[in-house]
Symmetry: C2
Subunit: 156 residues, 2 copies
């Protein structure tokens, strides 16, 4: 390999090879997809700790009919209040995941299913649209940084 | 200016000077702030064309109680439907504007005011939380790329 061009090409291929070894297993999109699936599972399980682990420390949860929950402690309290009131059984349909910077992304989903109201046992049909902003945190994990949703059902 | 170092320094200063002439007048944060103010004004004026101009062509508007409006034509139709139904008189409080890439940003606001329902003339107190994703479009303007909001009032 005395030819400098060939040497450069081989070096480039080696670098690409090692990069793909690190990243190709899972792309950022796939990793964010997995976070959304973990969120769906934790929501349906009423698992506050599981959900809190998916948020950044300075994350913001914007639940309909409540003021924004700013920061991880407010988020934990807000989901605790949700799960004392209702049991969710919903499925998320991921419409788009857009990675817009090395450590920022957003995603849009639709969800549908049923909500059981604990106080009465009544089951209500749910349909929502969700907008998530994700941030890659210092440990390399993608987490929910901002999250807003609203019902797509007509007013009752 | 025969010294190459001085020549380079002077050229750099000239470039910086001309750049600051273009950009320093208004930061990205200030320009996004202005877009949010323009949105507030157009919303209160029931100005569909004004609002449409603030969105990207592939933007998404996620109005509570309606499916997501995807793309500029669906957005135009959705705001047209809103303004046939209600007249808004709201003020936005900008909580944060985060510029996360050269051409991406997000913002979080709270809004409050009154909604007049055209069919009945009834006035209702409004309070909402909003999450905007902004994109800088090819013409250099920041525009709304995704927008989700929900009421912070308790269910009626």
């Amino acid at each position: 390999m005395k030819n400098p061009l060939i040497r450069t090409l081989v070096a480039t291929l080696l670098v690409l090879g090692s990069l793909s070894g690190v990243h190709a297993a899972e792309s950022d999109q796939e990793r964010i997809h997995a976070v959304l699936e973990a969120y769906e599972q934790a929501l349906n399980a009423g698992d506050v700790a599981g959900i809190v682990n998916l948020y950044t420390q300075d994350g913001v949860f914007m639940p309909q009919h409540n003021p924004s929950a700013v920061g991880i402690e407010a988020i934990e309290a807000a989901y605790g209040a949700v799960f004392r009131t209702i049991v969710l059984e919903v499925e998320f349909d991921i419409v788009e995941i857009e990675v817009i910077a090395d450590d920022w992304a957003f995603a849009r989903t639709n969800s549908a299913g049923t909500t059981t109201i604990n106080a009465t046992g009544a089951k209500v049909a749910e349909a929502n649209q969700e907008l998530f902003v994700f941030q890659k945190t210092a440990d390399g994990e993608w987490r929910i940084a901002r999250y807003s949703f609203s019902t797509t059902n007509p007013p009752r």
